[in-house]
Subunit: 193 residues, 2 copies
Amino acid sequence: MSIQTRRERERAERERLIVTAARELAEAEGWEAVTTRRLAAEIEYSQPVLYSHFKGKDAIMAAVAVEGFAEMAEELRKARTAAGGTRAALAAVGEAYTAFARRRPALYDAMFTHTVDLPFATPEAPSALHAAFGELLRAVEPVAADGEDPGQLTETYWAGLHGLTTLMRSGRLPEGAHDRRLALLTAHFTASD
Amino acid sequence: MSIQTRRERERAERERLIVTAARELAEAEGWEAVTTRRLAAEIEYSQPVLYSHFKGKDAIMAAVAVEGFAEMAEELRKARTAAGGTRAALAAVGEAYTAFARRRPALYDAMFTHTVDLPFATPEAPSALHAAFGELLRAVEPVAADGEDPGQLTETYWAGLHGLTTLMRSGRLPEGAHDRRLALLTAHFTASD
DNA sequence: CCAGAATCCTAGCATCGCTAGCGTTCGTGT
DNA sequence: ACACGAACGCTAGCGATGCTAGGATTCTGG
C-alpha cells in the first residue's frame, strides 16, 4: 500500500511540475512558445509523459487557468475588502481585475481567451472559478438597482472589464487612456443606484 | 499599356477571389479550416500564389477583416438612423453590434480577436474601421455627460459589447440572458445625466 | 528468482505556414 | 517571323506543430 501511495504522490508531483513549467514558460515567452516538445524538455521527460497526465495541450492550459482563477480571486478579495464604501470597492475590484490581466497576460489568456475545456457557468465549474466570480459579484451586488439581477449585472460589468483588457492587449485600444476608460466603466455602474 | 492594365485587373480579380474564398470558408467551417492548402485548392491555384498577393495568412485574414468593418459600419448606421431618440439609438446600435457578431462569428473573429496586422487607433487605420467606430461614436456622443470624453466613452461602451460577445461565444457566459445583459449595459450608459 | 505488469522513450504520422528552384508561357525587339 | 528575356505559377520540400504506436526497460508480486 505504501508503495502505491508513493507512486501516486510522485505522479501528483510530476503533474504539478508540468503545470508549473507550462505556466512559467507561458509567462516568460507566451503560449506560442509552450510546445509539447519544449515543455517536455523543460520537465526533463519525453513528450508522451504529458499525455499520461493530460488529454492534450488544452487540458494543460486549463490546469494553468485554474491556478490563475484562484490567484485572481485572492487579489480581488484583497482589493474589495481593503476599500471603504461600495463605490470604492467596485472601483478597487475593477482596478485589481485589469491590473491582474496586465501583469499576468499569459495567465489571463489561459483563463479567458484560449482554452474552452473548462465548464464555466455551471455548478461543475472549478471552485476557484466560482470564487473569482463571487468576488466580482460581492462588489457589484451593492450597486445593483431595484429590479436588476445582481448576477447578470456582474456578468455585464465583467464583460466590460474583459473587453477593456483584451482590446487593449491586442492593440485595438491605446494603452494610455486605460485608467480613464476604467473609471468611466465603473462610474457608469455606480451612477444609477 | 493595355496589356499591362489587363494583367493588373486580372491580378486584382484573383486577389478578390482569394479574400472571398477565405471568408466563405471561414464562415462555413471556421478559421481553423482555412489552411493555405485548402484555400489554394478552393481558388484552384497553388499555395505560393497566395504569397504573391499577401505576406501571409494573417494578411489574408486582415483583408477579410476590412470587408467586415465595412459591413458592420453599414449595419450600425442603419440601426442608428432608424431609431428615434438618443437612448433608442444607442440600444439599437448595441443590438446591431452583438447581432452582427453572432451572425458572422468568423468575420468578427478576424476583425476583433485574431489578426493584429492592422493598425487600429491611428490615422493609418483602414477607413472602414474608422467608419465602424464612427457609427458607435455618433450613437454614444449624445449620451455623454459633461466632462466625459466622447471618444473614451465610446471605447468603453465598445469594450462592453466586445466583452459580452466574446465571453458568450467562448461559453463563458450563458447565451440565454444575453438580451438582459445587453439591456443592462446600454441602460447604464444612458442612465447618467 | 522469475513471470507479468507498469512505465517511459524512440520514432514516426499527418498537418501546418511558408519558400526555394525550376519549367513554361507570354510579351518584346530585331 | 522568330528567337530571346522576363514574368509567372507549379512541384517539391523545410522546419515545426500536436499527438500516438511500439518496443525496451524497470519494477512489483508470487
